[in-house]
Amino acid sequence: MNLLAIKMLVGNRAQYLGIVSGLTFASLLIIQQMGIFFGFLSLTSTALGRIPSAEIWIADPDIRFVGDNRPMLDNMLLRVRSVPGVAWAVPYYNGMLRARLPDGRGESCVVLGIDDSSMIGGPHPSEMIEGKLENLKRADSIIIDQRTATTMFRVRVNPEDPDSEFRPITVGETIELNDRRATIVGICKTLLQLQGEATVFTLYNRAVQYSPFERRRLSYILAAPNEGVTAESLLPRIRQATGMLAATPKQMEEKTWAFFIFEGGFGVFFGITVVFGVIIGVGIAGQMFYSFVSGNLRYFAILKAMGSSGRRLVWMVILQATLCGVMGWALGMGLASLFGYMVRDSDQLLFEIPPILFGGSLLLILTISWLSAMLSMRTVIKLDPAEVFK
């Protein structure tokens, strides 16, 4: 009977394709938007994943997300280092500055100041396209990422001509950061960040010199526990010693995501899109499925007259809806994955399909299919087998 149900559905190609198309569209809309959403969430916390050795992040307790700049006093670093169980702790600067390019144009940039000696927080050596990380030890040196070099920091070929073409800035050229000289000594792979600003790496002590004078300049402290000590067990001790927020990268990520989802309005924005996807899915697939079941009521009545129980007919409808749902989801997932493949090299958009989206979207599309089936289920349950003679 299961095969019979499937043949009843698939044999009616126009309606079958109509139902599957509706579910594919809903699936594509939901997965594509949620893929962008998850990519966006990843962008909000790229720094956490970029520095895997930092098992503990320490910041101002009022910080709402990674990149929310609420600097601490420099002596906080010494307090953290004095906490028993801390193996090492290094400063990390994250601030916005104005850069003046060789052709005279100005551009905003994110300056990341990494520890002067350990260089923890800098790009991985394998990510260096030109130059070396160690080059940062030279005077006034900075490293920029590729997108910054080719896009934000690109310079006019002829600085005197405002209509002149642009060229990428190269290693060896000098810019000004807050009226201080900064020479490019290396270019690393593009660093995806939530804000589209240029990214500049330099040493911590140089970064604070570039920035306007403030008493509080230390954005974050990156730390790691001694061997045999877990990061989680250290957190309360650091909090007690410093009064600051101490969190694992995972906790920082959750805090960042919670901010963007609930306070940043992105949860509502993407949530509305998902709701639209569900409404469109139920609307199109529901109407088509109702039409399919209505068109086949005569045959359902025949099956009922011949001895099929109402429960079996309901099962057949659920099976048909499930098949449509799985097909629609698979096609939607395929199209969304194609979209992800097409934007894989984009330095502005990150598209991700984590396992929760994979499973969650399947469940959602199946729910849409079952909701669609429920719209027509009543007619099957209430079906009078005597209809066969009418």
Binding site: M1, L4, M8, V10, I302, K304, S308, F389
Partner: protein
């Protein structure tokens, strides 16, 4: 559910059935008395709206009567639960419809196998038996054809095979020849006589088609919700032979 051994396949006494309520109430059956013997082909004839279809719906157990008594092979549907009645109907009744009502997306063999599948027979076994029955009705070479690839007569033969495949004791036919031309209608009725009527099986055929009356054992004429007369063709034919 009680059953008594009987020579009658169907025994209906004073069966009543009405549709609607109040002013819109229509009395479809007004105390019908009819019986169908085992091994008999009874034709129900009469003008449109006289209650023929309602009566076979009651006999087939797909419509509840309002009053009277109706037993099919000694069983009263009103004494069965809904589930028991559905199961019993699936095992005991075969249906042939006016417009064939074959599932358009299934092949002939798959259509014929449906009653077996409903009764829980495994698919491979059901298809195999369906092909055997299709061969009996002369369509052994068309088992893979879709209904749309068959002529009207062939479709009705598939429908007959479907009504026979699970070896039901009672076959209920609603206007089985009305969509067919004279010659094909005769062939279908010949087939009925040949493969469907048997010592342990009864047939009730609702029809307007006077051209097939000759195939009936008895003809019950209905009008306005009751049986007006019953003509026994076996005795009248025998008398005319003398």
């Amino acid at each position: 559910m009680t059953a008594t051994k009987t020579q009658y396949a169907v025994e209906c006494k004073a069966v009543t059935k009405a549709y609607g309520k109040g002013n819109s109430k229509v009395q479809a059956l007004r105390g019908v008395d009819v019986s169908i013997g085992v091994g008999e082909l009874l034709m129900l004839v009469g003008p449109s709206g006289c209650g023929k279809t309602t009566l076979i719906s009651v006999i087939a157990g797909i419509l509840d009567r309002d009053g009277g008594d109706c037993r099919v092979f000694g069983h009263d549907y009103m004494e069965m639960s809904g589930r028991e009645r559905t199961r019993w109907r699936g095992q005991t009744i075969g249906f042939v419809f006016q417009s064939f009502n074959l599932l358009p997306t299934l092949s002939a063999a798959e259509n014929v196998s449906v009653p077996l599948l409903i009764n829980g027979v495994p698919r491979s076994k059901a298809i195999s038996k369906a092909k055997d029955v299709l061969a009996r009705v002369g369509l052994g070479d068309r088992s893979r054809s879709l209904p749309s690839q068959l002529s009207g007569g062939q479709q009705q033969r598939v429908a007959i095979a479907r009504a026979l495949v699970h070896e039901p004791k009672l076959i209920v036919c609603d206007e089985p020849t009305s969509a067919l031309d004279h010659e094909t209608g005769h062939k279908v009725m010949d087939l009925f006589k040949e493969v469907a009527v048997g010592e342990d099986r009864a047939l009730v055929v609702v029809t307007h088609d006077q051209r097939i009356f000759e195939f009936a054992d008895r003809i019950a004429r209905m009008d306005d919700g009751h049986i007006e007369s019953v003509e026994d063709r076996r005795t009248s034919v025998a008398a005319s032979d003398i």
